[in-house]
C-alpha cells in the first residue's frame, strides 16, 4: 500500500485521533493522539491489509525551540508481508512526558523505550522493565534533552574543573611541579650542522 492509502485507512478507523498527516513528503508519517498510540500500533500489526509487523526504529526528538516546545516519539514501521514502510509520531510535552508502551505489539520496542527513558526522560506507561539502559543506574538527568548541561559532580567527585582549578593546574601549583613547559621529544639530540 502507498503511504496515502495507509493514512486513509488509519483515518477511517481512528477518525479525529489521527491529528495530522504528511504523506506526500519523502518520509511520510501521521501524528497520532498520544493516548491512542498503543491501540493504533496493535491495529497496524493486526490488520491484514497493513501487517506492519516490524518496528524498524523508535526514536525520540526534543524540539525545545518551537513555538510550542515539545518532544516527539517516532515509530518507523515495516511490513515483511507487504514490504511497505510507514511512520507514526506522537507529540508529548517536555515536562512530565508520558506515552503508553507498544512493547506488547513489537518486542523490539522494549529496549528502544528504555533508551528513550534513559536519554530523554519520557515515561512509557505499562512498560514491564523501565530502567536505565546505556547510562549508569544512578545517573541524574537525561542528557539528550537540548537543555542539558554537564554536571559538576558525579557521586561526590568533581568531574568538571572550575576555571581556577584549570588555571592552577597549568601553573603547576597543584602538584608543586612548577609551570608547564613544552619539551620537544628530540630536545636532547643536537641539530646536525648547528652548534652543540
Amino acid at each position: 500500500m502507498t503511504p496515502a492509502e495507509i493514512c486513509t485507512k488509519l483515518q477511517e478507523k481512528f477518525g479525529a485521533d489521527v491529528v495530522s498527516a504528511l504523506v506526500e513528503a519523502a518520509s511520510p508519517y501521521v501524528v497520532v493522539k498520544t493516548e491512542r498510540i498503543a491501540e493504533v500500533a496493535a491495529f497496524c500489526k493486526a490488520d491484514p491489509a497493513l501487517v506492519l509487523d516490524n518496528l524498524l526504529c523508535l526514536s525520540a526528538v526534543d524540539f525545545h525551540k518551537e513555538k510550542e516546545p515539545r518532544m516527539e516519539v517516532v515509530y518507523h514501521l515495516f511490513s515483511y508481508t507487504h514490504f511497505h514502510r510507514f511512520a507514526l509520531k506522537v507529540h508529548v510535552p517536555r515536562e512530565g512526558a508520558r506515552v503508553p508502551t507498544v512493547e506488547a505489539t513489537w518486542g523490539a520496542a522494549n529496549w528502544h523505550e528504555r533508551e528513550a527513558w534513559d536519554l530523554f526522560g519520557i515515561v512509557f506507561d505499562g512498560h514491564p522493565d523501565l530502567r536505565r539502559i546505556l547510562l549508569p543506574d544512578d545517573w541524574e538527568g537525561h542528557p539528550l534533552r537540548k537543555d542539558w548541561t554537564d554536571p559538576d559532580f558525579y557521586r561526590g567527585m568533581r568531574v568538571k574543573p572550575t576555571e581556577q582549578m584549570a588555571d592552577k593546574a597549568m601553573k603547576g601549583e597543584e602538584f608543586g611541579t612548577g609551570p608547564f613547559q613544552h619539551d620537544p621529544f628530540n630536545a636532547h639530540v643536537p641539530v646536525s650542522g648547528g652548534e652543540a
Binding site: N54, L56, V61, A108, N110, L134, P143
Partner: protein
C-alpha cells in the same frame, strides 16, 4: 527538569532475592568474560547447569555518539560512525552517507558507487572472517581463527593501500569517497577473490563448518523462530538464519546493487531445527562467497566505467533544508538505520539516531537463553555476532 518517577530498588539492582527459587542462584557473566566480545554483562538465574532466565546489561562502552553528533557538522560525524561497529567500519559510514545524501538529494557517480560496493563487500568478508573465527574459538576450535585472520589481513592491506588506515577508515564521504583507488587495485582485489574462492572458503568449510563437533555444539541450540526474529527486529544473517529471505541489497537496492547477480542465502536447517546457531553461521559463510561474487562483478564494472573525480560531488558546505530521513543499509551485522533530523538553519544535525542491528539482536537474547545450558550461552552470544561498540554507541 524532567518527568519524575520514583527510583525503586529495581532500578539499581538486577534480580532480588525473592525472584529466585530454592535451588537457583544468580550468576553474573562478564563484563570481562572473553566470549562476550567486548564488555557485556549477563545476569543468569541458573539451576545447576540450566539457565532459567537471562538479563543482559549493556552500556559499559557508551561514548555518547548521538550527543556528539549534535555538536559537529554533518561530515564530522563520519569518523564517529566508524567507531560504532569497529569490525566493519566501511558499512557504517556508508549508511550514514546514504542518509545525508538522501537529505541533500545528491547521488554520487556510478564510478564512486562501484568503489563503495567493492569496499563494502570486502569489508563484509573481513567482518565475517572475524565473526566466524572468534565463534569457532569460543567453542574451542583455535586453528580456523588463525586461518581466517590471515586472510582478513590481505583485505586490510588493500584498505590501507587505498586510504591509509587499517581499521577506522573515514573513507566514505558525503557525495563521494576520500581517495581514488590506487594503480593496480583491481589486480590486487582479483587475487583476494580468487584466493578466497580457492583457499579460504574450502578451508573454512572443511575445517570448521563441516566439523562434527562444531555441528553438534551449534545445531539445535538457540533456535529463533521467524515470528520472534521479526518482532524483535533481528536483521541480517540473524534474520535470514531463521528462514526469512530478506536482504536490502536485493529488496531495496542502493548504491547500484541492482546491477549485480547474487543469491541471498537463508538458513536451511540441515542438522536440526531451522534458525539455530548453526544456521546463522551457515548464512554468514555462504554470504562471504556471494560477497566475493559481487566484488568480482564490481571489479569488471569498475574497469569499464570512465574514471571520474571521486570528490567531484562532495559539497563544500553541508546544510540540508529542514527535513528528516530514515535510511537503512545492509551492514555486515544487519540493517543499520540512521534517523537524521535537520532543522534547516544549522550545519550540524539536529538529531541522529542509530538503529543498530546488534542492539535489537541483544534485546531478544533472554527469549532464546531460557532453558539452555550455561555452556550454550557462549555459543549463543557468538552466533548473534554482536559488537558492543555498536550496541552501546
Amino acid at each position: 527538569m524532567s518527568a519524575t518517577r520514583p527510583i525503586t530498588s529495581a532500578d539499581t539492582v538486577g534480580w532480588r532475592i525473592d525472584d529466585i527459587g530454592p535451588d537457583e542462584m544468580i550468576l553474573s557473566m562478564g563484563p570481562q568474560h572473553p566470549s562476550t566480545h567486548g564488555v557485556l554483562r549477563i545476569e543468569l538465574i541458573t539451576d545447576g547447569e540450566l539457565v532459567r532466565d537471562a538479563r543482559p546489561h549493556i552500556g559499559y562502552l557508551h561514548r555518547c555518539f548521538e550527543k556528539h553528533c549534535e555538536n559537529v557538522d554533518y561530515p564530522g560525524v563520519i569518523p564517529y560512525t566508524d567507531r560504532l561497529d569497529y569490525v566493519a567500519s566501511m558499512g557504517n559510514s556508508l549508511g550514514y552517507c546514504l542518509a545525508v545524501e538522501k537529505l541533500l538529494a545528491i547521488e554520487p557517480s556510478p564510478y564512486v558507487q562501484t568503489i563503495r560496493v567493492i569496499m563494502a563487500e570486502l569489508q563484509r568478508i573481513a567482518s565475517h572472517c572475524v565473526a566466524i573465527g572468534t565463534y569457532g574459538m569460543d567453542l574451542g576450535a583455535f586453528t580456523p581463527f588463525l586461518h581466517l585472520l590471515r586472510d582478513r589481513e590481505k583485505i586490510l592491506d588493500v584498505f590501507e593501500w587505498t586510504c591509509g588506515a587499517r581499521l577506522l577508515y573515514n573513507y566514505n564521504w558525503v557525495g563521494g569517497v576520500s581517495h581514488d583507488v590506487p594503480e593496480g587495485f583491481v589486480k590486487a582485489c582479483r587475487e583476494i577473490v580468487s584466493e578466497f574462492d580457492q583457499i579460504t572458503y574450502p578451508e573454512l568449510v572443511n575445517l570448521l563448518i563441516g566439523n562434527k563437533i562444531f555441528i553438534s555444539r551449534t545445531a539445535g541450540v538457540g533456535v529463533v523462530s521467524r515470528e520472534l526474529a521479526i518482532s524483535y527486529d533481528l536483521t541480517g544473517p540473524n534474520l535470514r538464519g531463521s528462514g526469512v529471505k530478506y536482504d536490502l541489497r536485493k529488496d531495496e537496492p542502493y548504491s547500484g546493487y541492482e546491477n549485480y547477480t547474487f543469491e541471498v542465502p537463508v538458513g536451511e536447517g540441515q542438522y536440526g531445527p531451522k534458525g539455530s546457531c548453526f544456521d546463522r553461521n551457515w548464512v554468514r559463510v555462504v554470504e562471504m562467497k556471494e560477497s566475493a561474487r559481487i566484488v568480482s562483478q564490481a571489479l569488471d564494472r569498475l574497469e569499464k566505467l570512465d574514471k571520474t573525480d571521486v570528490r567531484e560531488k562532495v559539497p563544500k558546505r553541508v546544510k540540508p533544508a529542514k527535513g528528516e530521513v530514515f535510511a537503512r543499509s545492509e551492514a555486515a551485522r544487519g540493517n543499520l538505520g540512521y534517523y537524521v533530523v535537520a532543522d534547516g538553519t544549522a550545519v550540524n544535525p539536529y538529531r541522529v539516531k542509530v538503529k543498530s542491528p546488534c542492539f535489537t539482536a541483544m534485546s531478544a537474547f533472554h527469549h532464546v537463553a531460557r532453558g539452555v545450558m550455561i555452556a550454550d550461552i557462549i555459543a549463543l552470544i557468538g552466533s548473534f555476532d554482536v559488537v558492543l561498540g555498536e550496541i552501546d554507541r
